[in-house]
């Protein structure tokens, strides 16, 4: 690949949608806008797949392939646009490409009002998403996240699917929560920059610096706390999750697909790529939070035994008890299809957090696999939920029924997506969940038992939703809707994005090694969370 050295696919993948958005903003006829949008969404997907295909043969530096650096004029501050992919970011980069392409195709052929502006915002989001996972520099990692986040708020507020006041409230709540989360993590990242003494936001340099100089254990602990809750809000860690069901319930489908499917993974990605390896001592350090005020019997056994009251235990307990069990059961009570998908997505993030808390290669690898598979399946579910809405004119599960008689293909896709979501083997989600369960056992048997219990809960709400929408006989309300306008089966505009997502899920389910091999190499390349960080040099 020597002749390719000056060709940077990653920059191209980021720039294409952004440039397309800029051209749209400058004014372009509707007809050409759609054509340009195809390029803007299609090109990053092509590049992502090409990078995946060629990743194994690509020469690597510091574990990164496709490494390129561009000066930004802020080099003095240690900020430069450095792009590259390692085994952890590659799967997510591919995810962003595929889900972006599917969401884009769906949006281009949707009947949205002011389609051109909608596509412009979606293209900006797509550019940001590609940038998040391709950035090696933490500054740009953060910058691209914000770039993708802001269009989300606008799309929820303006193009939301609920009544205007509800859209406004949902957009405001999302904005406050996600900005707060991003702010906390930004403080953590700046603290990392300052405390490490690396004078650089470059992940490679930070890692080298911390590897040789070390970082004071209590700084590590504080920074990890900031990152954990900052990123935790962004990934809807219980009880900081209430923005998610509300926001996704209101978001237009392509925005929900991109946010729930891809952008939300930013926080987990940050934890795995930055926090866990760089702050290994802080992760497991005993917390000085006053647990003495809490009666002993209220604390889980994992708190007393094993690794004690560290961030990891806190994270694992919140994830399993809060996200998996409480939110899982809450999901059962949902009547609104889109809210239900939103809650189920929050529940599945519990598994991901549990995987992060295991700090092992198996667990972290499982999280990455789950992130990719969950991104694909939740995007598919949001897409199909909107398709269902177009046919039933409601999201209320109690007002549907018997749709499969009219739309067998839609029913088949929905059932497949539901089974993917509940972790059926053959879909990618299964591998992620299984690896996380395996890794969780040494952390805490009690938590593993509770987490595995979640598979029953997700089967209950998933199959219940499928049965209420598609099977049995239509409700009285829905019978009237059917009489007025018999529902048509999926059109090709809906089918093609759905096929893309489902095919990716099945591919991952049947051939997980295609992602797990580079992932395993990247996670093994450096020790994950060796509890003994090098002794702290000086207190800066």
């Amino acid at each position: 690949m020597a002749m390719m050295t000056n060709f940077d696919p990653l920059l191209l993948a980021i720039a294409t949608p952004l440039v397309a958005a800029l051209i749209l903003a400058l004014g372009l006829s509707e007809r050409w806008a759609a054509k340009l949008a195809y390029v803007g969404f299609g090109w990053p997907a092509v590049i992502a797949l090409w990078c995946w295909w060629g990743y194994g043969c690509e020469p690597q530096q510091h574990g990164y392939a496709f490494l390129h650096r561009y000066s930004t004029g802020l080099d003095g501050l240690g900020i430069s646009l450095k792009l590259g992919l390692n085994g952890i970011s590659l799967p997510l980069f591919v995810l962003a490409g595929i889900v972006g392409f599917a969401a884009g195709l769906y949006a281009i052929r949707s009947q949205a009002a002011r389609l051109k502006h909608y596509l412009m915002l979606l293209l900006i989001m797509q550019g940001g998403l590609m940038g998040v996972f391709a950035s090696v520099d933490i500054f740009f990692f953060y910058f691209f996240h914000e770039l993708a986040l802001i269009p989300t708020f606008i799309m929820v507020g303006v193009w939301g699917t609920r009544r205007p006041t509800e859209n406004g409230y949902a957009a405001m709540k999302m904005t406050i929560y996600l900005t707060l989360g991003a702010m906390l993590s930004l403080i953590g990242l700046i603290a990392l920059y300052v405390k490490s003494g690396a004078e650089s936001f470059d992940m490679i340099e930070l890692r080298a610096r911390i590897g040789t100089e070390g970082l004071l254990a209590h700084s590590q602990s504080h920074i990890f706390g900031l990152l954990l809750f900052g990123f935790g809000i962004l990934v809807s860690l219980w009880p900081l999750h209430t923005w998610a069901p509300l926001g996704y319930g209101a978001a237009p489908s392509s925005a929900a697909m991109l946010h729930a499917g891809v952008l939300k993974k930013f926080g987990l990605y940050g934890l795995i790529q930055i926090a866990v390896p760089l702050l290994s001592a802080g992760v497991t350090a005993r917390l000085t939070i006053p647990t003495t005020y809490i009666p002993n019997f209220l604390l889980p056994t994992a708190w007393h035994s094993g690794i004690g009251a560290s961030w990891v235990t806190l994270l694992a307990v919140l994830a399993v008890v809060g996200n998996v069990l409480v939110i899982g059961l809450t999901t059962i009570a949902q009547r609104d299809l889109k809210q239900m998908i939103g809650y189920s997505s929050v529940m599945h993030m519990g598994y991901a957090f549990l995987g992060v808390a295991t700090l092992s290669t198996v667990g972290l690898g499982g999280v990455v696999l789950l992130m990719v598979a969950h991104g694909l399946s939740v995007a598919l579910l949001f897409l199909l939920a909107t398709s269902i809405y177009h046919r039933t004119q409601t999201f209320d599960l109690e007002e549907m029924g018997g749709l499969a008689q009219h739309t067998p293909v839609l029913a088949a896709f929905f059932v497949a997506a539901t089974f993917a979501g509940i972790g059926l083997p053959g879909f990618g989600n299964f591998w992620g969940e299984l690896a996380i369960f395996v890794a969780a056992w040494p952390l805490s048997k009690v938590l593993t038992v509770l987490a595995v219990g979640g598979v029953v809960i997700s089967a209950i709400y998933g199959l219940r939703a499928a049965a209420k929408v598609f099977f049995g006989q239509p409700s009285a309300e829905f019978a009237k809707v059917i009489a007025a306008r018999p529902p048509q089966d999926l059109t090709w505009c809906e089918k093609i994005p759905a096929i893309i997502l489902l095919a990716a899920l099945l591919f991952l389910g049947f051939w997980p090694k295609s992602l797990s091999t580079p992932l395993d190499a990247a996670l093994n390349a450096r020790p994950v969370a060796t509890s003994t960080a090098p002794a702290p040099a000086t207190h800066r």
Binding site: A404, P408, P425, W441
Partner: protein, 620 residues
């Protein structure tokens, strides 16, 4: 062709068939059914080559996923046990595919049905061939999925939709324990490969605990519908009858017993005792329920539950000294023997009932049938063979396999022996009841009056299965390919042999005789007339379904609503909006200070000066 390729073909052929139907043949029902039947024939061919070609324990394993210390591989462990099970699955599976050609010939969604059957065949063969517990679990879940698809085939019926959902969720409850058992085994023994576990077992380095076998047994409780997770199987009769025959009688529900036999090395005595009593309890309970059923398929469903209980109990009875003095895994032998004979005669009975239902225009109430022996002779005679086999008429297959279990129980545990003998009497009772009411007497409805014999595509599988039900018990008819399992079957000799033989005859005489004299081929249940209290008790099935329903509706759903309330109102409403409200109030308060009136500002200024002065003077 290398044996590993044959095994791969067994897995891939049905998957290809399912994929081809889903992608291209959705509207071509006839073509789809031929593709699926061809795949089943391919499986039968490949597996016959494997079974009778003398291939055993060949190496075949590829890595499927590798992360850190976790390796999950797709591998094959092909010993005599797997060969026997593969034979049952592929042979009966093929016959049922052929039968379905006739049974489903007028169904508009035939393509979906046959795609589901193909998915099932792939997943079931996966369980049989799997060489490690993770792989068993993967295919275990997939048979659950195909079962969901096929039970819910007529999804426009609310009852079918509910039954499919119930089956999958109840199985998931069992799988919850199963997966935990696998995790425990993985972390305690560092491997889940069956061959490695067996090697560790014989080397004495295996870590055994009570938790592992009991947790793994949870999987079998779900899949083989043992108490208390049996509730899904009777409901699963909502599916098309060939599905009930294949999945819910002959193969998938027996997978639990097969799995137990695969992990026999992990068993400990306490776990075996639990397994034994669960099986015995299920056998008795289901036989009692079967007496009060009116639906021909429900009778057979409870009968299946009861027979599965026999197999589980047999496995739980465990090892036995044979006459040479060596200890053999007699539980495995007896359970697998009964599994095989049961697969034949129960598939026969279900397909026979399918033929009856097809002939009677989808009438399933036995009291609306009658007189069918004249109108459906082939079905009648083959069904009679099935009934004779299950009730244990001497020299039919069921007689031998049930005797093996009873002999084992007699040697190991007299209480279990007593319960199983009583259950066997009940079995003879309810089977003869059904047989007499369905086939003898006069037609009691128009549907039964116009019943017609089914076509050759349905009767030929019946005849073949009847042949199997007769011969499967004879030693000379059993292929040497299954020696490894067949030698484990406990054989009664001498005095014990006489006792068992007499007990068997007694069972038959009491059970069948009582039913023969009690029931008349009439439009009402004789037992209900004569002992309404007893009948009502049996018909209630001890209110277990009602208890579950109460839990789901009144406990789980209400708890979920309370949590939803907490999430929406307390967390999102009071705490978060409340915090926002407090901040908002503060800012409103502060805003009133900035009124724009110069007078107000002057007073504030004076107050401020006074405050600082006071501070400086040390008053505060």
């Amino acid at each position: 062709m290398a044996p590993a390729h044959l095994a791969l073909l067994v897995l891939v052929l049905p998957l290809l068939s399912a994929a081809a139907i889903a992608l291209f043949l959705r509207r071509q029902g006839v073509l789809a059914s031929y593709v699926s039947v061809a795949a089943a024939a391919g499986i039968l061919g490949c597996s016959s080559l494997l079974i009778f070609g003398g291939y055993r324990d060949f190496p075949a394993s590829v890595e499927w996923l590798q992360l850190g210390r976790l390796t999950i591989s797709l591998g094959v462990k092909f010993d005599d046990l797997a060969a026997l099970m593969l034979f049952v699955v592929s042979f009966i599976g093929f016959l049922i595919h052929v039968f379905s050609l006739g049974y489903m010939s007028d169904d508009p969604a035939r393509a979906r049905y046959f795609a589901g059957l193909s998915v099932f065949m792939a997943s079931m063969c996966g369980i049989v061939l799997a060489d490690n517990l993770f792989m068993i679990f993967i295919f275990w879940e997939l048979v659950g999925f195909s079962s969901y698809l096929l039970i819910g085939h007529w999804f426009e019926r609310p009852s079918a939709s509910a039954a499919a959902k119930k089956a999958f969720i109840v199985n998931r409850v069992g799988d919850f324990g199963f997966l935990l058992g696998i995790l425990a085994c993985y972390w305690l023994n560092d491997t889940v490969n069956l061959t490695e576990l067996a090697a560790k077992g014989s080397a004495g380095t295996l870590v055994v605990s009570r938790a592992i076998p009991l947790l793994l047994f949870c999987g079998a409780v779900g899949k083989s519908a043992q108490l208390p997770l049996h509730v899904w199987l009777p409901d699963a009769m909502e599916g098309p009858t060939p599905v009930s025959a294949l999945i819910h009688a002959a193969t998938m529900v027996a997978a639990g017993i097969y799995m137990l036999c695969r992990i026999q090395v992990l068993m400990v005595p306490q776990a075996l005792t639990v397994i034994m009593w669960v099986g015995t309890g299920t056998a008795l309970y289901a036989a009692l329920c079967a007496i009060a059923q009116r639906d021909i398929k429900k009778v057979l469903a409870y009968s299946t539950l009861s027979q599965l209980g026999f197999m589980v109990a047999a496995f739980g009875l465990g090892a036995l000294k044979d006459h040479g003095g060596a200890i053999i895994a007699a539980g495995v032998g007896a359970a697998m023997f009964h599994l095989t004979t049961h697969a034949f005669f129960k598939a026969l009975l279900f397909l026979g009932s399918g033929s009856v239902i097809h002939g009677c225009h989808h009438e399933q109430d036995i009291f609306k049938m009658g007189g069918l022996w004249r109108r459906m002779p082939v079905t009648f005679w083959t069904f009679t063979v099935g009934v004779a086999a299950i009730v244990g008429v001497p020299f039919l297959s069921g007689f031998y396999s049930k005797d093996a279990i009873l002999y084992l129980a007699l040697q190991k545990n007299h209480a279990v022996f007593g319960v199983l003998v009583f259950t066997a009497i009940l079995t003879a009772f309810y089977m003869v009841r059904m047989w007499k009411i369905v086939f003898l007497g006069e037609a009691r409805s128009d549907a039964a009056g116009h019943a017609h014999e089914s076509g050759a595509v349905m009767t030929v599988p019946l005849l073949l299965l009847a042949l199997g039900s007769i011969c499967a018990g004879y030693g000379w008819a059993q292929p040497q390919a299954f020696r490894g399992v067949l030698t484990l079957i406990p054989q009664a000799h001498g005095e014990a042999h006489t006792i068992i033989f007499l007990v068997s005859l007694g069972i038959l005489a009491v059970g069948a005789g009582a039913a023969w004299f009690l029931y008349r081929p009439a439009a009402e249940d004789s037992l209900q007339r004569k002992a309404p209290g007893l009948f009502a008790l049996l018909a209630s099935k001890l209110w277990i379904d009602e208890a579950y329903l109460y839990y789901v509706r009144k406990v789980q759903q209400r708890f979920a609503l309370v949590l939803d309330f907490c999430d929406r109102v307390l967390l999102a409403g009071v705490i978060i909006r409340g915090t926002a409200g407090v901040v908002g109030m503060l800012s409103m308060g502060v805003r009133t200070l900035h009124s724009g009136s110069l007078h107000a500002y002057v007073y504030w200024f004076l107050l401020g000066v006074a405050f600082f002065w006071a501070c400086a003077a040390g008053i505060f």
